[in-house]
């Protein structure tokens, strides 16, 4: 009867792995355990999504307590898809972690590192799978607390201040979310999301509900680095260990986007007072600003990791735009970009990790001549960069295509222009790196063969993600199909 308990196992497997990693003490053993756990989680997520796609939403009552009293895990197309993304990234990143972590962290911290990573995975999966608003907060804090630890493990001392800054901002965000949930509980007397959705409409006009909506939006906005609440992100990503950056960039903001979708469309979706115009007026300007401002800032960064971090904020802007349209096309675009960007950015940060391993730094100048010295890594970076720009035959192109279509559907020409300008800005910052890496001779060209290609254990995961971002740019029936079903489901049309 294991199959019936898959939803619980999804969270429990990494959760149990976490303390065991700590007990194992040795970095290598902890890594092996974490690897096994993450692959198991991936397999579970794949099974769950398949089950959801064929038989509809799954409801799992934790400990046998019936909702709305007990905690319900509820998996539909939307979070089934997000679960798969998170678990897949975890499964790809862990094989990579062995060498990278051994290089960047002292031996005695490695077991702790894998513990924190497993907890973070637990938290992210939990946030995604749960159907209970307060449970969501608990998992959110599990993932946040562990990610503060992970970021603080970075070699640079600035990692500490970055982690501290993130801790302060993240805690404020989480507290806002709890307050929002509390206010909702106050008026409805339930914490179950579906129950909330049923009970909210009659009291949609109440000031308490509006306040709850505001608190939830701001709180989630902080977690997902919604412009202008993104200030914690660039530092946190830039100074964290390479593996952590890749993992968080590909999952943490994506899960937050999912929370936003869940709150807006499942919980508040039925309430008329929060009509589409509210969303459009709020989210679209923020998305536009994020794309324009952060892409521009990215152009002026000298640290490539930081550059990509700013690019992440800009890319979140695209997803927020899609959500802002609140139409099937818009949500499809947001969800498909969530997936595509997870693949692309994850792959890019992994490629950067390979460079950091060999070069010790990812300052843009130090990449000179790398096209020759690390051809495979650099070419992966180029392909990932193409996907960020949205060159055809990459995943990024598909996202932009759908998003522009959504904007045209609304007749919002300004947004159309912004999306296209955003692509061009991305071209500028990606091209700065390409030009240096391929067309500037390396300073150490004659100083011997100091720099070689990264080991296979790192190259293969990098190429899996980059390959995915190419594959899903050519073959889109899976991503677009699921995203569209998810969008319809969120808008209440059934799966």
């Amino acid at each position: 009867m294991i199959a019936a308990h898959l939803p619980a196992l999804q969270v429990v497997v990494p959760l149990v792995a976490a303390p065991l990693c700590l007990l194992l003490r040795r970095g290598g053993l902890a890594w092996a355990l974490a690897l096994a756990a993450s692959w198991a989680a991936f397999a579970i997520a794949a099974l769950l999504l398949q089950q959801v796609l064929s038989t509809g939403p799954i409801s799992y009552q934790l400990g046998g307590w019936a909702p709305p009293w007990g905690i319900e895990y509820r998996i539909d197309v939307v979070n089934g898809f997000v679960l798969l993304i998170v678990a897949a990234i975890g499964a790809v990143v862990l094989p990579y972690a062995r060498v990278s972590v051994a290089h960047e962290l002292p031996e005695d911290q490695q077991a702790t590192f894998y513990t924190a990573l497993m907890l973070c995975l637990t938290g992210l999966l939990g946030v995604t799978i749960t159907g209970d608003a307060f449970n969501l907060f608990v998992f959110l804090e599990i993932s946040s607390l562990s990610s503060y630890v992970l970021i603080a493990l970075g070699r640079d001392r600035r990692a500490l201040t970055a982690a501290f800054q993130y801790l302060v901002m993240g805690t404020i965000g989480a507290t806002f979310i709890v307050i929002g949930v509390g206010l909702l509980y106050m008026v409805t007397g339930t914490l179950n999301m579906l129950d909330l959705a049923e009970r909210l409409p009659p009291m949609a006009e109440s000031r308490t509900v509006l306040a709850a909506f505001a608190f939830l939006t701001v709180g989630t906005g902080l977690k997902l680095a919604l412009f202008p609440l993104h200030f914690w992100l660039p530092n946190a990503y830039a100074y964290a260990p390479s593996v952590v950056t890749a993992f968080l960039a590909a999952t943490a903001t994506k899960v937050s986007i999912y929370m936003l979708l869940r709150f807006f469309f499942t919980v508040f979706g039925t309430a008329d007072s929060l009509d589409l115009a509210t969303l459009e007026n709020l989210l679209i300007p923020l998305g536009v600003a994020a794309i324009l401002v952060c892409s521009t800032v990215a152009i002026f960064q000298t640290d490539v990791k930081r550059m990509l971090a700013y690019s992440s904020v800009a890319q979140v802007g695209y997803m927020v735009l899609g959500i802002g349209f609140a139409s099937t096309a818009g949500l499809t675009a947001a969800i498909v970009h969530l997936f595509n960007h997870a693949m692309t950015k994850g792959g890019l940060f992994l490629a950067l990790g390979c460079m950091a391993l060999r070069l010790g730094s990812v300052q843009i100048e130090s990449l000179a001549g790398l096209g020759r010295r690390m051809p495979l890594t650099m070419f992966a970076f180029v392909l990932g960069g193409f996907s960020l720009i949205g060159v055809p035959l990459t995943a990024g192109f598909i996202s932009k295509w759908v998003l522009v279509q959504a904007a045209l559907e609304r007749g919002n020409w300004l947004v159309v222009a912004v999306i296209l300008v955003g692509s061009l800005l991305a071209a500028v910052y990606v091209w700065r790196v390409i030009e240096v890496a391929y067309f500037r001779p390396g300073a150490r060209d004659d100083a011997g063969e100091g720099i070689a290609e990264a080991p296979l254990s790192m190259l293969i995961p990098t190429w899996i993600l980059i390959g995915a971002s190419i594959y899903f740019g050519i073959h889109t029936s899976l991503t677009l199909g699921v995203a569209e079903r998810a969008a319809r489901f969120l808008l209440g049309g059934g799966a």
């Binding site: 503060y148 001392r157 201040t161 501290f164 801790l167 302060v168």
Partner: protein, 117 residues
């Protein structure tokens, strides 16, 4: 019911704003943590207040008591307090590490050192 009748909600708001202000305005990292704590405490009180039923007692089945307070928010807030404690501990641990790395816990001095580096 006049405005003062809901005084515990006023306290929530005052605490929330106090905590928030401390987080934003203080440069000392320890004080920031203190502010964060006050901020979170306001949320605890919010939950506790909403669980209270006027005239109700602690939700223990006993002879002679008909009205009970809602136990759920109180239980929830126990969880939240644990989370808060963990956050504080982690935050303070980070401050200790920052102090070791920079020799100070003042934000402006840290920034100065970072710029020089």
């Amino acid at each position: 019911m006049d405005a003062l009748g809901l005084y515990n909600y006023w306290i929530v708001i005052v605490l929330m704003m106090t905590g928030f202000y401390v987080v934003v305005s203080r440069g000392n990292l320890v004080k920031k943590i203190v502010g964060l704590n006050i901020f979170q405490t306001s949320m605890f009180i919010l939950y506790i207040s909403m669980g209270k039923v006027a005239g109700g007692t602690a939700p223990i089945l006993a002879e002679g008591f008909e009205t009970y307070s809602n136990p759920l928010p109180h239980v929830l807030i126990l969880t939240a307090i644990v989370v808060g404690v963990a956050t504080t501990a982690l935050g303070l641990a980070l401050v200790v590490r920052i102090n070791e790395a920079y020799g100070t816990v003042e934000e402006d001095e840290i920034q100065l050192q970072d710029q020089e580096a």
